[in-house]
Amino acid sequence: MGWPGLLAFIRYGFLTAFAVLMGFTANAYLALGDVQNRIRFRVPENTIWAAAQAEIELGRTLAQLAPMAAGQDANAKLSFQVQFDLLWSRADLFMNGALAVPVEKDADLRQVFGGFAQDLKAADGLVGAATAGDSRAALQILDLLSPHRESLRKLTMASLENDRREREKLSRDHDLMQVQLSRFGFVAAILLGLLLTYLIHAERRARHLLADANKARSQMEE
């Protein structure tokens, strides 16, 4: 391979390496954007919030039921029907939308939550009577829902664990993408510098050749 051939080889080699590097850099940039979007739009915090809310509302419902089951006045701010509807709405959060996904994915959680939803439906038929003061109905609801303190605690703990795992993964991905991006950017900058040096050198060489050619032509004309 002669000098011009070697130069062409180096030139194309640089261009190819630069294009490949730009591709990697663009890919790392998009991946970083994806990780950042996942951080901004993530759902786990809502899952924890919803699980904690369900626990709170179950606690309030059971607290209201205890005196009702004993034939006493619950002395609550909300009627039992409304309190039960609030609990129902919290359970419903895990049946629809983005919050249903973590429960659906985990067989254990699905079973735990399925049991709770089933007993909630069974209790639904007794709510009217309990609200009207039927202590036996209140007692039946109490018996149906009391065991689910543990179920909902499990749901909250599972949500926390999922959240921790996802945060860790996002953090690792974020760091990795940032390192890749800065490495690719650094190498791309070096390649760009070398390419620029080569272009300046080639330009100077072309100018010299042109000057030599002009000189030779003027000598021939003389």
């Binding site: 901004r40 739009f41 993530r42 309030r60 029907q81 419903d92 629809n96 983005a98 009217g128 009207a132």
Partner: protein, 153 residues
């Protein structure tokens, strides 16, 4: 038999009472409180938002009254809006945001009134599909459902 009828009538009375009390909205502005039924609130002007939410599947059609219209009806132009749910949850929304984006107090979802079980009777809804910045998780706390009170400060 008498006991059965007594319970039946009591259930009916309590359900009617509960539905009535949970379907009103108390609005407080400058120390003056006004109570709205759903119909009275809708008389301020109903608008529509089609959007996805974190808590439902697919695109939903919400109808309701814009928070800006409620603020205007109560002479609130700047400051904060405290939205309270019937379970005492509270969220603070800047009125500048309410005036800039058509945030709504929804009274219907897909043409149906919303019960407490369906996050009703009033639900703060952001047009997050038209304004994707509100799809970010940090805004979710403002989508208060089962709203019972609005307080302009």
């Amino acid at each position: 038999m008498i006991r059965f009828f007594a319970i039946f009538i009591a259930v009916l009375a309590m359900l009617t009472g509960a539905r009535a009390s949970e379907s009103v909205l108390k609005v407080n502005a400058g120390g003056q409180e006004k109570t709205y039924t759903i119909e009275a609130l809708e008389a301020l002007g109903v608008s529509t938002i089609r959007t996805t939410t974190t808590w439902t599947d697919g695109v939903q059609t919400f109808e309701g009254v814009s928070l800006a219209a409620i603020a205007k009806a109560h002479g609130a132009e700047a400051g904060k809006l405290i939205v309270g749910a019937i379970n005492d949850y509270k969220a603070e929304i800047e009125l500048s945001e309410v005036n800039a984006v058509p945030v709504m107090l929804a009274t219907r979802m897909n043409g149906e009134r919303m019960s407490v079980r369906d996050k009703g009777p009033f639900w703060v809804v952001y047009p997050r599909d038209d304004h994707p910045e509100f799809a970010e998780e940090r805004h979710n706390y403002k989508w208060v459902w089962q709203v019972g009170t609005l307080e302009f400060k």
